[in-house]
């Protein structure tokens, strides 16, 4: 894993104070500067602090934070990693861990879709739309071609979904390159357009609606041959499928792309300083388009893994309420736009989602409140990530927090000769 690690290597500068150039405004630049500060310790510590803060909220709401967190933790299934957990508890833990990883799978990929754009100086809010389009295509192909050989069928569906996602993101890339349309706007719009496209496809009477269930706004089911093999847990009861390996593999591809390829070099140059990239003979617009294509492909594949792995069909409702893209942004940012960071953050979010799901936490806390607590804890985690300075400064014994919070009034209060004159 040296590849991933060297991607995370530290940057000597703490932050850029100000810049004369528009180029330095890019989010990639901002995050790159933050990326160095303690690759592993900081996120871990951040998470811990966030949970502590969340515990205060739990406490404030009149519940017992210890038991709440215990049940969240067992709910994530991470206790499976403890060798002393045995018997029935172990089986439950395994089941939970499978769900955690199942949730993490698309988050890894959508996170990468956001992260890759960030590295090239773009803010891809469109992970949701790309995921949606990928899902539509994956379920369409997965439910057709019943006779096809499984491996081929699966590969076909995944690749097609990736291409669909790529095409969708490509629209935003092309618009940015050709007309200068801001990708924040276009990807937000494309998200919604994708949703309505999906609803149109699977609604009653829609072109891809399940003909065997004319009364239900749902796609046809993925045929048996196109389902991803489950390698851990029950194949029937949503065990863990091989999709997660595809996600891991693509994370490695991401790291290689970014660090080792000419395309990655160009993408990063464009991300940090488009003007310098142009000066170096790079075609900035084309790089934007290509980057968006890659982003979209990641998100599209994410959807196909969900569809072929455990969903097997798509309700219009699934399309409307999916939050994957939203989480993907958080995952990418928490992972500081690096491959390994994104994987870790995705697993964390996956764990958070399963750990705080009602079935795992409901005995310790009022079920009607739990999902909101989850949101709050997620929010706090993200905010603390944003300010890894806090963590960093705690690490440095709080010395520098004084610097950050140094307030002028306090200093002005000191006697000054000039003031006296």
């Amino acid at each position: 894993m040296t590849l991933l690690e060297d991607e995370l290597e530290g940057h000597p500068l703490g932050g850029e104070e100000e810049s004369d150039q528009a180029a330095l405004r890019s989010p990639a630049r901002l995050t790159a500067f933050r990326r160095g500060s303690g690759a592993i310790t900081v996120p871990v510590l951040t998470t811990v602090i966030a949970f502590l803060a969340g515990g205060l909220i739990v406490l404030a709401s009149g519940h017992d934070p210890v038991s709440t967190y215990t049940s969240i933790f067992t709910g994530t299934g991470l206790n499976w990693l403890f060798p002393w957990i045995g018997g029935a508890a172990r089986a439950t833990a395994a089941g939970n861990l499978q769900q955690t990883l199942l949730q993490a799978t698309p988050l890894i990929l959508v996170g990468l879709a956001v992260a890759f754009a960030f590295r090239a100086g773009m803010f891809n809010i469109g992970g949701q739309g790309q995921y949606t389009v990928g899902g539509i295509v994956a379920v369409w192909i997965g439910s057709s071609f019943a006779g096809m050989s499984p491996v081929l069928h699966i590969a076909f569906a995944i690749v097609a979904a990736g291409l669909a996602g790529a095409a969708w993101a490509g629209i935003a890339g092309v618009l940015k390159a050709v007309t200068g349309a801001n990708e924040v706007i276009s990807t937000i719009m494309l998200n919604w357009i994708a949703i309505w496209l999906g609803v149109y496809c699977f609604q009653l009477g829609g072109p891809l609606q399940n003909p065997k269930m004319p009364q239900t706004p749902v796609s046809s089911n993925v045929v048996a041959g196109a389902k991803l093999p489950v390698f851990w847990g029950s194949a029937q009861l949503q065990g863990l499928d091989v999709g997660i390996f595809i996600a891991f593999a693509l994370a490695v591809v991401f790291a290689i792309l970014i660090k080792r390829t000419r395309f990655g070099y160009e993408a990063r140059a464009v991300g940090f300083n488009p003007e310098a990239a142009r000066y170096a003979g790079m075609n900035v617009g084309r790089t934007w388009v290509r980057v968006m294509l890659v982003c979209g492909a990641f998100a599209g594949v994410a959807a196909s893994l969900d569809i072929l792995g455990w969903k097997f069909n798509l309700y219009t409702n699934d399309i409307q309420v999916s939050q994957v893209g939203f989480y993907g942004i958080a995952v990418a940012l928490l992972g500081r736009n690096s491959a390994s960071g994104t994987v870790a953050a995705a697993v964390l979010f996956g764990a958070l989602l399963t750990g705080t799901s009602d079935r795992n936490i409901h005995l310790s806390i009022d079920p009607t409140l739990v999902q909101y607590l989850t949101f709050m804890i997620e929010g706090i985690i993200i905010m603390l990530v944003a300010t890894d300075v806090i963590t960093l400064r705690l690490l440095k014994g709080g010395r520098r927090i004084a610097v950050a919070l140094r307030s002028r009034p306090a200093k002005a209060a000191r006697p000054s000769g000039h003031g006296a004159s």
Partner: protein, 512 residues
């Protein structure tokens, strides 16, 4: 003049550390009313830091500041302004999208019930600019005016705030000789009015022109403080760098051979499609340095951009060794053999968050040595960077350091190293020594002449009279987008200045 006058401003034992870097090490400094005190030093010597401490931008770790003999606690620019200190920063502190008047009054706006009174602002600006001969158009937007005008705006900003102590951090780095002369006049007027002036510069001759006293910093420490009388460029250079410096590159005449760059009837528009280059034709031959001299904003940028492929010309031809590249983009230009030392290393020349190895590959990253079948050859890049860094004497980092971590001078060396290493036929050097200290300038000048002698064609675009004269084999003067004269390097400063400002041109002078 007034060594006896009591200092208005005194800095005592200032120490400022950035982490492990000691930027200022117990520095003493003072300046009296009616005096110009120059501050000299290499890039990174700590000049700007010292002034930032004075202006309340940095809090010193040790030391105290006295104004009028009384200690003051300066913890923000606000208090500095209140203490009568004004500062013209090395990087201008102007808001590009706002007008001159708005920039000048910002923070102390004349207003009625919060509504900006632009009329009053304009009147005040006129009054000040008349008094000190600082001509500006109050309604022009900063992004539309020349650097020289920006400089004047900065000075007006300080005067508007009634500064008695004026700090100018490298005010002349981007000015033409003409503008420098104007600035000198302004400083003299200010001096007469009793202002105390701190003047930072790398240009020794200017320092000798304006300063009454000169203090030299080296590695954060004050190494000398001398009166102007008796100081020479040579002696100052030795104090700055700590060794003898060749101030004017010892240049033999070039031996021009076949033409490598041929520009014919080039027309180029700017971002707003206004024509900025109007029918320029020129030739640069192998083994020759041709300089384009001119006041900033006369089409140099557009000309360079068109030649290097950064901008498509409206019409005209650009040939490199016979190959047409006009309007075909940077890559075509690079492949034809053009290298380009960019005017602004932060904006274009470097990707600051990239490592030096990555930065050094920017020009050639597509070559088979640097990347093969889409893969970057990282080991090669690192090895190559190591070689270039030692060859070009870049200090402060290795191949894996980030460009942002180097000092300005060393950053410039990286950019120069990269362009020269690409082994170009034609090297376009746009302001290659902007902001560099004497030692670094010596180095870059030496390298350019060396490259010329290797048979490259070098097109030098510079605002600096001395640089142009020191390096060029031929000088072309650009004025309002046209080449208005051609001179030999021994042309007199007056004549060149006249041509650069659109005065009468005698073609007869031209050397072919």
């Amino acid at each position: 003049m007034t060594g006896s006058a009591p200092p208005i401003l005194e800095l005592k034992g200032i120490t400022k550390k950035f982490g492990s870097v000691v930027a200022n090490d117990r520095v003493d400094f003072d300046v009296a009313a009616g005096e110009v005190h120059a501050l000299l030093g290499e890039n990174g010597a700590g000049k700007s830091t010292l002034m930032s401490v004075l202006y309340g931008l940095y809090t010193p770790d040790e030391g105290e500041i006295l104004v009028d003999g009384r200690p003051v606690e300066i913890h923000s620019p606000r208090t500095a302004i209140d203490a009568g200190i004004g500062m013209v920063h090395q990087h201008f502190m102007l808001v590009r999208v706002m007008t001159v008047a708005e920039n000048i009054v910002l923070g102390q706006e004349p207003s009625r019930w919060g509504r900006l009174d632009l009329k009053a602002a304009r009147a005040r600006v006129h009054e000040l600019s008349d008094r000190y001969g600082l001509a500006v158009d109050p309604d022009a937007r900063i992004e539309d005016i020349t650097v020289g005008a920006e400089q004047r705006v900065e000075i007006l900003k300080a005067l508007y705030r009634n500064a008695r102590i004026l700090v100018l951090d490298e005010p002349t780095a981007v000015l033409t000789a003409q503008e420098v002369r104007e600035l000198t006049g302004v400083l003299n007027r200010l001096k007469r009015d009793g202002a105390a002036i701190v003047f930072i510069s790398h240009k020794l001759r200017e320092v000798l022109d304006v300063a009454d006293r000169i203090t030299v910093l080296r590695r954060g420490k004050r190494v000398a403080s001398v009166p102007r009388a008796g100081a020479t460029e040579q002696s100052l250079a030795r104090l700055v760098v700590g060794r003898d410096v060749v101030l004017s590159a010892a240049k033999r005449h070039g031996t021009p051979a076949e033409p490598l760059l041929a520009v014919a009837d080039l027309h180029v528009g700017d971002e707003r499609r206004l024509e900025k280059v109007s029918g320029v034709s020129l030739t640069v031959r192998s083994g020759e340095i041709v300089a384009i001299a001119g006041v900033d904003g006369n089409g140099q940028r557009e000309l360079v951009d068109a030649i290097t492929g950064m901008r498509a010309p409206a019409s005209g031809r650009v040939r490199v060794d016979g190959r047409e590249i006009a309007g075909q983009g940077v890559r075509a230009a690079t492949e034809a053999g053009i290298a380009h030392i960019a005017e602004d290393r932060h904006l274009r020349g470097l990707v600051l968050p990239f490592t030096l190895a990555e930065n050094l590959a920017l020009r050639e990253y597509r070559s088979p040595q640097c990347s093969a079948r889409g893969w970057m050859r990282l080991a090669h890049l690192r090895e190559r960077a190591g070689r270039l860094l030692s060859e070009f004497d870049v200090r402060g980092g290795g191949p894996d350091s980030y460009a942002a971590a180097l000092s300005g001078g060393n950053q410039q060396k990286v950019a120069v190293a990269r362009e020269i290493a690409s082994n170009p036929k034609v090297l376009v050097a746009h302001q290659p020594t902007r902001g560099l200290d004497v030692g670094a300038i010596e180095f870059v000048h030496g390298r350019l002449i060396e490259e010329r002698d290797k048979g490259r064609a070098i097109l030098l675009v510079s605002l600096e009279y001395e640089e142009v004269r020191a390096l060029a084999d031929r000088i072309l003067v650009i004025y309002e987008g046209r080449i208005v004269g051609e001179f030999s390097p021994d042309v007199s400063e007056e004549e060149l200045g006249m041509a650069m400002t659109g005065g009468q041109v005698s073609r007869s002078e031209a050397v072919v």
